[in-house]
Amino acid sequence: MSGTFVGMPAFPKAAHEAVYNQTLRGNLRHATHTIRAKRAKAVAEVSDWAELREAGKQIKDHTLRHLDRYLVQLEESVTAAGGIVHWAADADEANRIVTDLVKMTGETEVVKVKSMATQEIGLNEALEAEGIHAYETDLAELIVQLGKDRPSHILVPAIHRNRGEIREIFAREMSEWGRPAPEGLTDTPAELAEAARLHLREKFLRAKVGISGANFMVADTGTMVVVESEGNGRMCLTLPETLISVVGIEKIVPTWQDLEVFLQTLPRSSTAERMNPYTSMWTGTTDGDGPSTFHLVLLDNGRTDTLADEVGRQALRCIRCSACLNVCPVYERAGGHAYGSVYPGPIGAILSPQLRGTASEIDASLPYASSLCGACYEVCPVAIDIPEVLVHLRERVVEGGAVTRDGNKVVLKPAKGHAAERAAMRAARWAFKHPGALRTGQRLASRSRRFHPRSLPGPGAAWSATRDLPTVPSEPFRDWWQRTHGGKDTGK
C-alpha cells in the first residue's frame, strides 16, 4: 500500500504532538460530538438495527468466504453490460492502468469523486507525474487538496479544519487552481459551499474523464453504487465521456437485494441521515445517458493478504462509514494524521497494518493506538470486532509468526522494542502453569502491600506518571474463595 505518509513517526510520537494542538483538539471535539449524538438518534429510529447489522455482517462474511466466485461473476456481469474490467495487484499497477486509460483519451485533466481506494494508491500523485491534473470535487477533499494537506477522516477528510481555516484556504488558493473565491468570502458554511460550487462548476462542465471509487458492486447485476451528498459524484459519474472506477475487491455484495441492508445502515452510520442526498447506481454503460466508456479497475493491494488471516479478515467487511472514528476517544484527541494512513481511527489501526504489513514503525505501532474500550465495535454497522483484531495484531507484532505478504506465506520475526512485553508474558505463562508458585507469589504480594510504591521506577515511570498502580487486595481471591467456600460461609 503506497500513497501513504512516508517517514511517519510511530503513533505515540505523532499523537503526542497532535494533542498539544489546541485548535485541532477543539475542531475534532466539536465535529465528533456533533455527529455522535446525531448518529445515535438516526440509529434509534429503526427498531431492527441489530438485525440489519447482523445481516450486513453475514452478507459481507459470506461474500469474503467465496470471493473468487463473486469476482468472476461480477466481471461477467460488468462486461455483459458494456464495461471493461481490469485487475490490479498493487498500487503501482492500478496507477499505471488508470494513467494509460486517461492518456488514451488524450485528456490532461480529470475530475474525481471522493474515493478511499484512489487515496490509498496515491493516484493523484501518479497522474500528476505523467502530466495529468486530477481535481478533487468533494468539498472536504477540495479543502485538503487546496490546502496541500493530508486527509484526516474517512468521510470528512478536512475534519481537522474549522470554518475559519477553510475560508482562509479558499480565499488564498482557489485562484491558483481556477475560478477564484468570491470577493469578501465569509466563513458561513453556506457561503463556503457556494464558493466551492462556483469554483468546480467550470471543471465539471468541461470534464471528459471522471474517476471514482464505489461503495458497492453487485455481483449478479454488475451494478456499481456510489453514495454521496453534494452532487459532485453525480457530476463526475454522468457528465464525462469516460468513467474509470477504482474499487477494492472486497466491495462486492452478491445480489441486488443485499443493497436493502447497506442502504439503510450506511447513511445512518456515516452522516447520521435517513438517506444521503444522492445515490448513483449504474450498470455498464447506457446509450445516450452518461459516459460511453466505463472501466472498472479491481484492486487487491494487500486485501488478499488480509483475507488470508482468519481473525483479521473481518476488517474487509468495512463499508467506510467512519462511525468508529467519531466515537473513538483516541481519535478524538490524536486526530487522523497521527495514524499515518488514509485510513485513520480504529478501523485504520486494524486495516493499515494488514494492508501494508507491520514492517514500518508506524504500522507496528498502530495496533496499540487504542484503549480497547470497544466503542468502535459497538457502533460498527457490520459488527467488526475491532478490539479482537487489535489484540490479534499486537500478538503478531510482539511474537511474530506466519503471515501472507503479496500472496506469499512469510514468517515474521518478533518486533524489536517489545522485549519487556514478551518477558512479562513469558513470566505470566510460567506462573499460571505453576499454581504453587502463583499462590506463594500472590500471598507475598498481599502481605507486602504496605510497601508497594505508588509509581513505577525506571522505564515504567512513563506509564505510571498519569496512572495510579492498582492496589493489591489484603487477601488473594483464591485464598478467600477457599476460606469462605466461595463466599457461602461468611458475609465477607
Binding site: T32, I35, V46, D48, E51, A55, Q58, I59, H62, L64, R65, H66, L67, D68, L71, E75, W87, A89, L139, I143, V156, P189, A190, A193, E194, A196, R197, L200, R201, F204, S229, E230, G231, R234, T238, L239, P254, W256, L259, E260, V261, L263, P267, T271, E273, R274, M275, P277, Y278, T279, S280, M281, D289, G290, D300, T304, D305, L307, A308, G407
Partner: protein, 220 residues
C-alpha cells in the same frame, strides 16, 4: 500469468480454510430485519413521505390531478424561470398552463447549454416514505441523468399513492438495476464543514416535490 489469475489465485489460497460445503448464500443471511418500519395506512405513508422530504429541505406541494398544471405553472413563475428542461416522455398536460420556454432533453446538447437552463421538471420511478427519497430511473418522463443535475431547480412529480413505497426493501424490487438510477433525498447538501449539514452544493439547490393524487374521482 495475468494479474487476474494472480489475484484469483491469492483469493483461493486465502480462503482455503472455507469448507467445500459452506453454507450457501440463500441460508447464509438471516433476513429477520423488517420489511418496513411501523404500521401505516396508505394515506399515512404518503404523509410520512411528505414529512421526511420536508425534513431534508425539499419543498413539498400536494394537489389533485386536475390542479397539477396550474400548480406547476405557479412554481415556474414563482421561481422566475424562463426555461425548463423537459424529458421527451413528460405528460404534456403538466405544462399546459405555462408558456415558459421548453428545452428538450437531447443527446447532442452540451453540459454548458444545460447550465443555462433555469429549471427542470420530471416524474420519478418510485418514492420511499421512510427515507424521504425519490428514485429516478431515466424513464421517458425522467430523461437523462444530467438534466436533473445541472439546472439549479428541480420539480419532481410523484403520483401518489401508486408510486410510493414505505421502505428501502420495498423499493429495490420495483427498480430495474440495468437502468441508470439516481436516488434523491432532498436538495444537494454537505456535512463537510464541521460535520454539520448545509444544503446547496453542486446538485439542484432547490428541490420541489409535487405529490399529485392520482386516485381522485375521474382519475384512473
Amino acid at each position: 500469468m495475468s494479474t487476474r489469475d494472480v489475484i484469483l489465485g491469492r483469493v483461493r489460497r486465502a480462503i482455503a480454510d472455507v469448507p467445500r460445503g459452506d453454507t450457501p448464500y440463500e441460508q447464509a443471511v438471516d433476513r429477520s430485519y423488517l420489511p418496513e418500519h411501523g404500521d401505516r395506512s396508505v394515506e399515512e405513508t404518503v404523509d410520512l413521505l411528505a414529512e421526511n422530504l420536508a425534513d431534508y429541505r425539499a419543498i413539498v406541494h400536494r394537489c389533485e390531478a386536475g390542479g397539477l398544471a396550474e400548480l406547476i405553472a405557479g412554481l415556474i413563475a414563482g421561481r422566475g424561470s424562463t426555461s425548463v428542461a423537459v424529458p421527451p416522455g413528460l405528460d404534456e398536460a403538466w405544462l399546459a398552463a405555462t408558456d415558459v420556454t421548453r428545452v428538450p432533453d437531447r443527446g447532442e446538447s452540451t453540459p454548458h447549454e444545460l447550465d443555462q437552463v433555469d429549471s427542470v421538471i420530471t416524474a420519478c420511478a418510485v418514492a420511499i416514505a421512510e427515507t424521504g427519497t425519490l428514485v429516478l430511473d431515466g424513464g421517458p418522463d425522467q430523461g437523462r441523468r444530467r438534466i436533473t443535475l445541472v439546472p439549479d431547480h428541480h420539480i419532481c412529480v410523484v403520483r401518489v399513492p401508486d408510486q410510493v413505497v414505505s421502505s428501502v426493501p420495498q423499493a429495490l424490487p420495483r427498480l430495474d438495476p440495468a437502468r441508470p438510477l439516481t436516488w434523491i433525498s432532498g436538495p444537494s447538501a454537505t456535512s463537510d464543514i464541521e460535520l454539520d449539514r448545509v444544503e446547496g452544493v453542486h446538485g439542484p439547490r432547490t428541490l420541489e416535490v409535487v405529490l399529485v393524487n392520482d386516485r381522485t374521482v375521474g382519475g384512473n
